[in-house]
């Protein structure tokens, strides 16, 4: 999972150093998307080389040095551009999660728009499958092993698409509340995640 932009977003929010950024990222993403600290350090290096962040301070706690970074103007622009990039349906479980994890109130309308587009994409992909899949009356009995394999694959694909659509719809529900109320009622959130 490319976490470079998420790390950049954290630094854009406020200055930070390797271990501290890794902790903040874990808090945002939760255990399911755990990112190793080494990956955060590697992202920092990449961002620094690209000129998106710069060293602003070094501090010491005993023997250990902490190098503090801040986002440059170019870094802030890069982060905004990443947030605005359309997300693809396939990595629903990857980049969309990252963007959602980085959410703040000002970005709700943009994210809402992106998820609405994802919903349509999911629906279109499901429709393409459901229209093409044969029904019981179109199959001979018994079916060949090849056909069985094909239908099982399609069925599995439909399961994935279904799960994507449900996730997108639940997220949209929460975003709509966030847009209209500025927050999410606890009951609505529990309804969405249960």
């Amino acid at each position: 999972m490319p976490v470079k932009h998420a790390v950049l977003g954290l630094i854009a929010e406020r200055r930070g150093y390797g271990y501290e950024l890794s902790q903040r990222l874990s808090e945002r993403l939760g255990p399911r998307l755990a990112v190793p600290e080494a990956t955060v350090h590697s992202s920092i290096k990449t961002l620094k080389t690209a000129g998106h962040i710069e060293v602003v301070r070094r501090s010491f706690r005993g023997e250990q040095a902490a190098i503090w970074y801040e986002a440059t103007e170019g870094g802030l622009e890069e982060y905004e551009a990443w947030l605005d990039e359309p997300v693809m349906r396939e990595p629903v479980r990857r980049e969309v999660y990252l963007k959602f994890a980085m959410i703040d109130a000002t970005r709700v309308p943009r994210l809402l728009e992106q998820f609405q587009r994802l919903e349509l994409e999911c629906l279109a992909a499901i429709a393409a499958h459901t229209r093409a899949r044969p029904l019981a009356d179109e199959l001979t009995d018994p079916v060949t092993l090849q056909t069985a394999a094909r239908l099982l694959n399609e069925s599995g694909a439909l399961d994935h698409l279904n799960a994507d659509l449900m996730f997108v719809k639940r997220t949209l529900g929460v975003l709509r509340w966030a847009e209209s109320e500025g927050s999410v009622p606890r009951d609505k959130l529990l309804e969405a995640v249960s």
């Binding site: 629906l123 279109a124 899949r133 044969p134 029904l135 009356d137 056909t147 694959n153």
Partner: protein, 255 residues
């Protein structure tokens, strides 16, 4: 030419305690004769309300529902009852209401007899419909003794026995196993091919197989998947998730 069924800017609100909740907001939909449309929606998303309004069982707070060019959202109870006895068939609850001890044959014959047909003629037509939906085996069984999948077929037979122009079914296949679900969807597809407009709901994508149109209740609105007009409506390749395949209807694949 107007659509068979049109929902135009339909809004429906309910009172929940002291609050008013909007279930549907500015929903529009055109359904043509022969369309087989499925609305995907989870629990509490308003799909039953949508179908009840489409069928003319509930009136919207705002908007209109047109059936064959006629506004049924403002029509009298008498007019709507007549439509429900003839042109609009509904399976709005999977558990078919049954009279104790009533057989499948009698159950399916009832709408015809209620419309004035004689017993013998009604049973003759009903038997043909029972045969068509694959329920011949239990034609003399009591409806109350049937399994869910059998009841679904009987409900479909009863709904279609008078040759409706529009069929509306709520969660009809959601509790069926995949084989039964596929069979019932094939039956619905068959009715659509004969020109019946069909509007159903399903909790997940498997319940939409065979549909010509796919919609989803999102928030309080309705969104529809774009209709694929290009070659063979083949599923898109989806690296990482799907194994691409080519559907061969010429028999080369073994079926």
């Amino acid at each position: 030419m107007s659509a068979l069924l049109s929902l135009i800017g339909v809004t429906k609100r309910y009172a929940r305690g002291v609050r008013e909740v909007t279930v549907l907001s500015d929903v529009s939909l055109d359904l043509e004769a022969g369309d087989f449309a499925c609305v995907l929606a989870g629990r509490g998303e308003g799909k039953t309300t949508l179908l009840e309004i489409a069928a003319g069982y509930r009136r919207p707070e705002e908007g209109r529902v047109m059936f064959a060019g006629r506004d049924i959202s403002t029509a009298s109870d008498r007019v709507r009852s007549r439509l429900h006895r003839s042109e609009i068939a509904c399976v709005l609850n999977r558990s078919v209401p049954v009279v104790h001890g009533e057989t499948v044959l009698k159950h399916v014959s009832l709408p015809l007899m209620a419309g004035g047909s004689g017993v013998r003629e009604s049973q003759h037509v009903a038997a043909a419909m029972i045969e068509r939906v694959g329920a011949r085996e239990y034609i003399d069984a009591r409806v109350s003794d049937l399994a869910d999948s059998e009841r679904a077929r009987v409900a479909l037979a009863q709904a279609c026995v008078r040759g409706p122009r529009l069929l509306i079914a709520d969660e009809m296949t959601d509790t069926l196993d995949l084989i039964e679900r596929s069979s019932v969807l094939a039956l619905l597809q068959g009715f659509a091919r004969e020109g019946v407009g069909i509007l159903i709901t399903a909790a997940d994508a498997h319940g939409a197989v065979g549909c010509s149109r796919l919609l989803s209740l999102s928030g309080t609105g309705l969104v529809e998947a774009p209709v694929a007009r290009s070659e063979a409506e083949r599923p898109p390749e989806d690296p990482g998730q799907l194994l691409p395949f080519t559907r061969d209807r010429r028999g080369g694949g073994g079926e």
